[in-house]
């Protein structure tokens, strides 16, 4: 098991290097550079040129790449954000924990909703619980994040006033409250965005789990188990459910990757100060140092998600043996 994990991390290194090259080249071809957002109308062309020379923008592309990547690898330095006039790591560091907790809560909520609903729909395939759940699945499938997000804000924040419509924590609570009050306040802020993401994220999982359960119920090994006189409830838990949950587990990695992309939009809609809003701000400002760092961070998280689902698979599927 540990060997596999170490090996997976080793494979990650060339993958990430490749991503970094692609990201760097893409940023290079984008219009504008780090200075475009900072140019003052009073500046002369020579001033700009001098500044470009100073920060190394006139070096050839490979040299710039090597400078960038070696700073990351050897010093953990992602460079300076020209937009924020601070180190990229510091800029991201402020936001990363917000996004991390939001994503985690969203992921947990997603599975908490999806697995019971998927099981229910599969167990009562074709009957009314199944039909009701399928109705929800189709609505959620065709619902854009933006629309649901705005509906949630309109209903629960504007009309009912139960939850705040934006932000991650109330500034007054943050400065004066106890730790417990701050925690409660953060959860309160997180609820709407996390629910929005979870309600939409459940779709694929419910659908897959339902289809698996219906498929396994008709399988030959379930017939064999029935012919042995195993009670129905045991057959469902031991023979049907266990075989159905494996593909869902394999999907956790993809769910984590998809989640990160979903979070980007949800943070925008709910004005949640996380990496998502930072990402879009930075693209707008041509702050490529931040954009590149974020993409690499997302890549690492995606790869970690895949690793997590592989580890989970070895736990639930005895056929997978790690050598």
């Amino acid at each position: 098991m540990w060997k596999m994990i170490v090996r997976r991390f080793l494979i990650l290194i060339p993958q990430l290097l490749f991503i970094s090259v692609v990201v760097f080249i893409l940023a290079y071809f984008m219009p504008g550079d780090a200075l475009s957002g900072l140019v003052d109308p009073t500046m002369t062309a020579e001033d700009i040129e001098r500044q470009r020379e100073l920060i190394g923008l006139n070096e050839p592309l490979p040299v710039r790449y090597v400078n960038w990547i070696s700073a990351i690898i050897f010093e953990g330095d992602f460079g300076q954000s020209y937009g924020h006039k601070r180190a990229v790591t510091a800029v991201i560091g402020d936001r990363v924990s917000n996004t991390f907790w939001l994503s985690l809560v969203m992921l947990i909520l997603t599975y908490l909703i999806a697995i019971p609903l998927g099981i229910l729909a599969g167990r009562f395939g074709g009957k009314w619980p199944d039909k009701a759940i399928l109705f929800y699945v189709f609505v959620a499938m065709s619902m854009p994040t933006l629309v649901l997000g705005i509906l949630m804000i309109l209903t629960f924040s504007f009309n009912l006033g139960w939850f705040p419509s934006s932000g991650s924590v109330n500034a007054i609570v943050l400065s004066q409250g106890t730790n417990w009050e701050i925690f409660v306040n953060r959860v309160h802020h997180m609820t709407l965005p996390a629910m929005t993401g979870a309600l939409l994220g459940t779709v694929g999982i419910i659908f897959m789990l339902r289809a698996n359960i219906i498929d396994r119920t008709a399988s030959e090994y379930v017939k064999l188990a029935r012919s042995k006189g195993v009670p129905t409830r045991v057959i469902f838990n031991k023979h049907i459910l266990r075989n159905s949950i494996i593909p869902v587990t394999a999907g956790v990695g993809f769910a984590i990757a998809g989640l990160l992309m979903g979070v980007l939009f949800i943070e925008q809609i709910f004005g949640y100060p996380g990496m998502g809003s930072l990402f879009f701000e930075s693209i707008g400002r041509r702050d490529y140092a931040v954009v590149n760092a974020l993409i690499i961070l997302f890549s690492v998280l995606t790869a970690l998600g895949m690793l997590i689902s592989d580890i989970l698979l070895t736990v639930v599927d005895p056929r997978i043996q790690v050598q």
Binding site: G126, A218, E220, Y221, S227, K228, H239, N243, R319
Partner: protein, 332 residues
Amino acid sequence: MSEQEKLLQIRQLETAFRLEGKYYNAVDFVDLDINKNEVFAIVGESGCGKTALALSILQLHNKNFTRIRGSITYNEKELLGLKEKELNQIRGNEISMIFQDPLTALNPLLRVGAQIEEALYYHTDLSKRERKTRAIELLTAVGMTDPELTYKQLPHELSGGMRQRAMIAIALSCDPKLVIADEPTTALDVTIQAQILDLMRKLQKDMHSSILLITHDLGVVAEMADRVTVMYAGQIVEYGTADMIFKNPKHPYTRSLLASIPNVGENLDRLNAIKGVVPTLRDMPRTGCRFAPRIPWINAFCHEEKPSFHEVEPNHFVLCTCYEDFHFESEE
């Protein structure tokens, strides 16, 4: 026949499947008796209702789409209409099943040992350790070379033949009185088939149980069966002892089936296939001789309007009178 003890009696069995809201009989008023300590074979092409009949005994069909009527009595106990809980007392314990495809019929996530012990858990009061001992005994009995290892293996680690042996071990785990074997050798290659058949025959003799053998393979029937029933389009068309059916086949369907087996050494340009196909559930003729459309060169008045059984020799029965005038098309 009457002096032998009856184990299972099937009377007027109808197994109907629902298609677009209407029920169609896949098994159409079938009567049969299985005695103690015999191998009873049901033969027929695919789609004749053999498997539908086999699954009806333990009621393993999906209840939402199936309707079973008539009577199935096991040791004078009526099985139809029993509650799921009562059926589970009989399933695996008194009557067990061997399925066609050992690749799909074993749960891929459970170790072979666990799948054998599952039946023991519900039908015996053996302790955990005794169950393991019994499972290894069974694996030895079905001819596993390394039963201790197989006990711990997952189905995908076994070959097709070994998986079928494991399935036989499961079926035999609680000393059932009747084993229903639904095409037990169809998914195996020929050399393995022979081994599995020998094994089943031997175990049947040792355990004094009966086997209901469902197959389309007449070679398997010849090797195994004491008595044979031929099924066509949901009905029984001929039944008798294996000797009678093979030496003196009467019904045109039985004769056509036997004629369709190519003999080694005989040089045939074309195989003697039976014309046409078994009618689908929906298009099945419900009156007259159901085999008539596949032997169109036989005069219509040779068939009975309401086919009934005729005793051609003691204990050998044939449905419909068309057997009297039947000849193969090539013999005209």
